[in-house]
Symmetry: C2
């Protein structure tokens, strides 16, 4: 693989001479050029306001049957169109989305006679392109050995990156120049990640966030990843060329395709304002609308869970301490610390009902947790057999009586074959007991052995689970999937996923740096909502036996995350007793919506700060989240997005006197003021701090 | 892998010096010795009548965690027992089976502290041994990198072998000395085999049949292959040591195990009479009895099928010539040659009903055959969607009205993941339409990609299908599975399988040598019944456009195969019209049973000839099959197995005057005589010929 990539790079570093004049399309400041050079290589370039963003860059493939499917092409036809439409997502950051682009389709013919189309869409904030393989007799079933898409950048940009790992996205971010990329020490140090598979020390994951020396913000990712492996990027540290690296299978093949078909979209977002990237809907727009109607069963919600107590070691997922710890009747001997017991679950249900939190997740309810991890075991869970102390019927009925939704948990341990065999049975079980949502998990090495979390087979697996969810009216929150690519448009039951380093790392490892949440929206969240599990109130002393462990955030910042990290399913992650100890601060979590009419990115700088205002769906109430990195920060917000002439009651949840993430995270203060569209709010965020604000319209 | 094997061989070639005196067990002429040498290596040896059969040979493993798990052992305990019992198979070659062995269990402790047991069973005709990993805290989940079992033979024996291929058993047999083994030219020439994966030119498949210079017959195989890869044998051509090669997965791991557990049995059968090996029940005896009761739904039967007409090119499996050949309504455009159409199926049903043949198999009934093969396609069939000209309800009802059993066909194309996803649905469909039997197929490269037909994952897959069959009361006839290992004892619904080069190769390739069927019972059939599909009557001119193609057998030999190749499901493979053209010869097929009370191997020599007599279950009628290789042969049979004093009508179906397999296969003659237990029958078999005899008791 590496050898081929290097060949390509060398080819491209030669001077490009154009066999055809460039074709161009543009939207506002963004321009896309396409041409074919004298060797028949298709090339594209992206400009922003006349400046090079992507210099002429290679396209094409190494196919099993055509190793030179990136050159020797001729242009046989061109199509153009302009689209300007709006659509309404089932849920999201805003209730209406505009989809406006100019499209260029180039129909190419290879020297072998095979056909390839490349479709470009230019939006006001970037470019998407994908390859389409038309129906043709000479290319029906075929194997992609590698995709040769390149992104030849204009300089040695600053990058926010994680390693290109075939099995994990749960790394901390590194800020570095492209010339400094080297993932080896990062991977080696990440002993808190269960499965790491990195074969190229210069590979980084997408979405890759970049900032140029002259103030442009770039984001490279993909949209609509279906039936294809995830794309990672190999970094040329001297020429600043990024080359697509597709996640391989057991035979180092990348994709098995059947024409007519197409790849996912490769996306390049660009702006001179970082905030504009956060507001971009281009990746969503490049996904297809859902094929199903009648999606009112899909309901955003907050949820609590029997979960943080296991993460922090207070209780256990497993019922017994050893899989073979059985009594004379062959029954597991309880360890006395099992979290998912009926009484404890009822306590969470009571808490959710009292505080109008929609859902209750329970992990560790089903048999198998004694030896589920690290054994590469295939038949690890059956998804229908509860532990003896988890009375599924009693819990279901209790939750229903309290108006609370139970959320199913399916940990697969990475054994996707086992999950697929049980899928019908598992979803019928959910239907029988009224679980309209499931959190799935894939912690561990993948079975089928030889596949990876982010390869084509698993991409198809995750889609099969989403399709099963659509059939059974089940919302899905997938943990350990590939990072998302806007598929929540096509599958609106794909509520959220993990695919990044979540808040949970504060529970069982050294946690996340204070700037972590200022980077996530520019990287991982570009593709879709994350189940980050914010809202930890007890920021120190939560992990038995680990007195030094702390959440690297102030309490006020934990609140602000409910606004800055969008998800239609937001966990209220801490223990009920920790919320009950701080009812005034908890009020914000009770108030904050998970579905929005409008979103304004007020200010943002990756790695530094983010401030976002959102209006709750169907209300006139606004919520603001402001967070900062390890540096304290003052800022002034103009509330000019409020309805003119109307009065609002603003409640500010701020870092308390002397607060900071490191030595005093818990201090917070709350104040209430009346505001209107002329108000200027001065905020002071401490190091690692944040501010959360609710702005409720005062009835007049 | 190879490197490790060589290391082991070198170790063993050094002179063995014994740290412990040998432990011995024996039964009749067979003796087993076990000892541990000074390096702590467990060793075993097998003797027959005092002659070396297996000289001191290595045992043990390379584990992922213990690469030297074949030395540094000490003996901590020994157990012995003798078992002598009889049991009744649900179906088979005889109605009662004696299981008589002496057992030795050696409890070993490795230098690492880990425990390993080796269990030996000695029967009158051979030895079985297996490894058992007891429950222990130091070894719970573990990975076998290789099994180090060796078989150090006493000389350069003659071997009947096929290549050790991870994906196919469908090779022609080579006869050679062990010193001449080299599978490379065999594999290279076998272009008629869909998928070939051979990584070791010195690897041969088991059952491996051997004949020593001094007239001993040896057979090396395994019994009860479950949750483990198939064992192949690497041949040391100088020292005549066979070393186990387990079929690998994508990571070149061999088995993922969870103690307590055990391996399959390694079997060494030995006799100075070839016929005794054919009568051996040792492999069956080493399998576990079924756990289920009430197995009367399992019914041996003969069956016809819409099949040979596709194999020979007269009709097609596919309905359309191309997958994308659709009309304006998106429906497939028929090619007009689709075999599985309702009218044609009814013709077969009528034929079966008229001739009291139990079942009708129909291949090519379900959508997907246009592009099922060679594309490594995952979602290839759904197993429930018939082509538009196959009316499943009408056919079901018609078959039921005629008292004929429909046999389902599930071709997976090797895509086991797809089949597993559909398994519940597919078996419910069978239940709905009353199909009590299924022929499965795995032609193609395996999905999950990285797995092989004969690896652990697929071994487990085939077992899952058998288990599904037990749940749904469905009998299974698996094509392209690993070669069988006696599992039909544990899963009596495992009626037969292919796993060898069947008669079908005469339809689409250069066919089988005339001695092929004289080798199969000594090799492939040692593990269980084969769906060989005998009974071709039109032996030339059957393949349109291929005038030179012929079945390498006389017609009389085709009849004899119903006796010499035992299966509880025997196909009546030719077209109805070809049987209707020869009703006198067809009478034997109508008469011959598929389930037996008694079997007598009258004479046998691998590669030369086999003569077997069997008594139909619950009758006093005997059937004899006698076949020869490319050489004509005369023999005299003593019918002293008939009841003394009773008279029988014997009908002899013999090669006709001038018949031979090459130039005149079709000539046959039939004669009827009266016989009793004193009769001596002189038979004259032509080159590639045979004789079939029915011996019906005359009511007195």
């Amino acid at each position: 693989m590496m050898k081929l990539v290097i060949v390509l790079l060398v080819l491209l570093y030669s001077v490009v001479s154009y066999a055809t004049p460039p074709l161009e399309i543009s939207r506002e400041k963004v321009k896309l050029q396409f041409f074919i050079d004298e060797q028949g290589r298709p090339l594209y370039a992206v400009l922003f306001n006349g400046r090079d963003v992507v210099k002429p860059s290679a396209m094409g493939f190494i196919l099993e049957t055509d190793t030179g499917f990136y050159k020797n092409f001729s242009l046989i036809n061109v199509e153009r169109k302009v689209v300007d439409e709006t659509w309404k997502p089932v849920w999201g950051e805003c209730s209406t989305i505009r989809n406006n682009y100019e499209q260029l389709t180039v129909h190419l013919k290879h020297g072998s006679g095979k056909l390839l189309d490349i479709v470009f869409r230019v939006f006001a904030d970037g470019v998407g392109f994908r390859y389409e393989f038309p129906r043709q007799s000479g290319l029906i079933y075929f194997v992609v050995k590698e995709e040769c898409s390149q992104f030849k950048l204009a300089g040695n940009h600053k990058a926010f990156w994680i390693p290109g790992d075939f099995d994990s996205n749960e790394y901390a971010y590194t800020h570095s120049l492209l010339s400094e990329v080297n993932n080896t020490p990062v991977v080696r140090a990440a002993t808190d990640i269960a499965v790491r598979t990195v074969t190229d020390s210069l590979a980084v994951q997408t979405p890759l966030m970049l900032k140029t020396a002259d103030g442009l913000y770039l984001n490279i990712h993909e949209a609509a990843l279906l039936n294809y492996p995830a794309m990672q990027l190999h970094v040329d540290k001297k020429e600043f060329v990024l080359s697509s690296n597709l996640v391989p299978d057991a035979y180092n093949n990348k994709a098995y395709l059947h024409a007519p078909t197409h790849t996912p979209w490769r996306t390049i977002l660009v702006s001179d304002k970082a905030a504009d990237l956060l507001g971009s809907k281009t990746i969503l727009n490049l996904n297809e609308p859902p094929t199903e109607q009648g999606l009112s069963w899909i309901k955003p919600m907050k949820f609590v869970g029997v979960w943080w107590e296991m993460q922090t070691g207070k209780s256990t997922w497993n019922y017994s301490d050893y899989a073979d710890s059985v009594n004379t009747d062959g029954q597991l001997i309880p360890n006395g610390r099992h979290g998912a017991n009926t009484a404890n679950v009822k306590r969470y249900i009571d808490f959710a009902a009292t505080n109008k939190i929609g859902g209750v997740l329970v992990e560790g309810w089903d048999r198998g947790w004694e030896d589920w991890f690290g054994n590469w075991k295939e038949n690890v869970f059956d998804f229908v057999t509860p532990y003896p102390d988890f009375n599924v019927k009693e819990i279901t009925e209790y939750a229903r009586s309290k108006g609370v939704t139970m959320i199913m948990h399916h940990e697969t341990s990475g054994s996707a074959t086992n999950y697929e065999r049980q899928l019908d049975t598992a979803f019928r079980f959910m239907q029988q007991f009224g679980y309209p949502a499931v959190k799935t998990g894939y912690v561990g090495r993948i079975v089928p052995r030889g596949e990876h979390h982010d390869g084509q087979w698993m991409v198809n697996h995750y889609e099969r689970v989403l399709q099963q969810g659509m059939r059974y009216h089940v919302m899905v929150d997938a943990h350990e999937p590939p990072r998302p690519t806007g598929l929540q448009r096509t599958y609106p039951n794909f509520m959220a996923c993990e695919a990044a380093r979540g808040n949970e790392y504060h529970a069982f490892s050294n946690g996340n740096a204070p700037d972590h949440e200022t980077i996530l929206p520019f990287t991982r969240l570009m593709g879709g909502p994350m189940d980050y599990t914010p809202g930890i109130f007890k920021l120190t002393g939560y992990a038995p036996g680990m007195p030094d462990r702390s959440v690297h955030s102030t309490l006020a910042k934990q609140l602000a995350l409910y606004v800055t990290l969008y998800s239609p399913v937001e966990m209220v992650a801490d223990l009920p007793e920790n919320y009950e100890a701080k009812p005034d601060a908890f009020q914000f979590i009770k108030d904050v919506p998970v579905d929005w009419d409008t979103t304004r990115i007020l200010e943002a700088e990756p790695g530094d700060y983010i401030t976002i205002a959102r209006k709750g769906k169907g209300t006139n109430n606004w919520f603001i989240g402001a967070i900062t990195d390890e540096n304290a920060r003052s800022t002034t917000l103009l509330l000019n997005f409020l309805d003119k002439g109307k009065k609002y009651k603003a409640t500010l949840y701020e870092d308390g006197a002397g607060a900071n993430w490191k030595t005093n995270p818990a201090a917070y203060s709350i104040r209430t003021i009346t505001v209107d569209s002329t108000t200027k709010l001065k905020l002071a965020l401490v190091a690692g701090g944040g501010t959360a604000i609710s702005i409720m319209q005062i009835d007049q």
